[in-house]
């Protein structure tokens, strides 16, 4: 798929979402425009942009470097790993607490994504996980979740 068509699909999807959910909002009148006017107009413009770029993208198909899901995963494995790990960190943050979740998160990032040896990843995780907790929680007095730990 060409870059133009890739972008057009995002604009179309958001535009259609906007259209669907702004139709239920009050439109008001010209002398008192309602809360639907702006989002509705923008959704229509987004859909129009999506259609425009979809047509523009015709004939600009990119060369296929690798086929199938396996090729896609291989090509984008580092960003995919980071996104997956970050999602796991977000889910674990409140149940586990910041100190534990951040140390584990940093460890897996150093070990699995940055490809450091286990002991180096452990040292880095133990330095930066609790280090960031001390800096933010204790020094800057930021409210961070405690989770299962008593502190």
């Amino acid at each position: 798929m060409s870059k133009e068509r890739g972008g057009s699909l995002i604009f179309l999807a958001v535009g259609i979402y906007g259209l669907v959910f702004s139709i239920g909002l009050p439109l008001g009148r010209w002398n008192e425009p309602g809360p639907a006017v702006f989002p509705l107009a923008l959704s229509i413009l987004l859909c129009a942009s999506g259609i425009f770029w979809f047509i523009q993208g015709k004939g600009k198909e990119e060369k296929k470097e690798s086929a199938g899901l396996g090729g896609f995963v291989q090509k984008y494995k580092t960003p995919l790993r980071i996104v997956g790990l970050t999602a796991a960190f977000i889910l674990a943050l409140e149940p586990l607490g910041y100190l534990l979740a951040s140390t584990l998160y940093i460890f897996v990032l150093f070990f699995w994504v940055s490809r450091y040896r286990v002991w180096i990843a452990v040292v880095l995780a133990v330095t930066f996980g609790p280090g960031s907790w001390l800096f933010f929680d204790k020094l800057l007095a930021t409210q961070l979740p405690q989770g299962i730990l008593p502190f």
């Binding site: 870059k3 958001v14 425009p33 809360p35 960003p79 409140e94």
Partner: protein, 503 residues
Amino acid sequence: MDVLNNLLLGFQTALTFKNIYLCFIGCLWGTVVGVLPGIGPLAGIALLIPATFGMDATGAIIMLAGIYYGAMYGGSTTSILMNIPGESASVVTCIDGYQMTRKGRGGAALFIAAWGSWVGGTLSIVGLMFLAPTLANFAVKFGPPEMFSVLLIAFILLGSLGKGSFFKTLPMIFLGLLIGTIGMDPLTGTMRFTHGIKDLYDGIGFIPVAMGAFGIGEILSSTEESLIRTVYKIKLRELLPNREELRASWGPIFRGTGLGFLIGLLPGSAHVLSSFVSYTLEKRLAKRPEEFGTGRIEGVAGPETANNAASESAMIPFLGLGIPTGPAPAVMMIALLIHGIRPGPLFISEQPQVFWGLIASMYIGNVILLILNLPLVGIFVNLLRVPFRILFPIILLICLVGTYSVNSSVIELVILLVFGVLGYIFRKLEYDVAPFILALIIGPTIEIAFRQSLMRSAGSFSIFFKSPISCTLIVLSCLLFFWNIYRAVRPKKEWEKALEEGE
């Protein structure tokens, strides 16, 4: 006289130990993010926003502004010494700067880049000092129709001067404006696109969106390329330029200052555009233009001066009108909003110590940066030896904890990740993320201005043409819109192709 008195007040604010320290930290961090490819000034500012929560607004803006203009100084270092632009505005500096390094004149190129940056930056602050209050006084008289037309032309200019084509920027602006409508409608109290999620009632948070789209998005792009960066050995020979180089650089420095100052007032990637325009101008004015690209000092002096001048003058519409013209001022605006201060026409009169403290700190910051970037340049170059595979997990963690600390909300972390992925996808698809963020921030203002105008006129669109300011700006917006259509269909000029490639 009024300006001098106010500047004195500014120096009284800026010359406290705490504010000098914050200015130094901002400049130091700015130089670091400028030197390190993969972390731009935006991510640099966004990362330090959580650290400003315990500060007053003056200290916060002094530090964040230091990061912004500090990154412009630092960006030239890797361009000159390693042929890697540390910051997008320094792309053009690679052309002649790196060739000078290969000829053994890298030290002189660094000196001229820092000197030009200082001259451009300092003269631009003088302009900022006089122009911003004048603009603010003028804008105080603005009603909703004028505000709407100013924002309309700002968006059209953003589309015209941003990265990529006008028609590629427009949907990004629409997207930002649409996402800006999420939350409670300020005029009627109706909930829009909240789906019962309480965290969205006040609207979508700027911090998770900006940090996601710029910080996480930038990291995902950088890690995809390579986690292990090759660091070349650098030999810094003579730092002082010779007489011929000094003589040749004066003209480009002063032309770059004027050019950068004017371009900085326009919305879009002004600092990138200013460096390209300055390079093209110097090449046109040169007696032997064919020597450009082989290591001419004018090719370093002009663009480096212009991008610094542009970054300082970009603060004029941001502080005077409350319209951030670029992504970095937009992120600074978010920081000020968090501190309960809204930049705009009333900002300078209501918060003189913040505005004049910032102005004074910029003079101090430029001197700090000159010191940091000349004798200490070797230390910053050594920073490149820290592997990116160590840096990125730490940056990710700071982004996450920074976002969480604003409202202690996990939903905001989800927003951060979603917009991080979106930012990354848009980078891959070659769409500029900056207009999206700007539209998100300015969106609610333009919507209110539009609706209030129609309410005042009982639904008549003639209100937009009754005031001379509004009428002129709307006519100009229409002309600009049609000019962009013409520009899209006509064949591209050589410098336009070069600018697109550089971006």
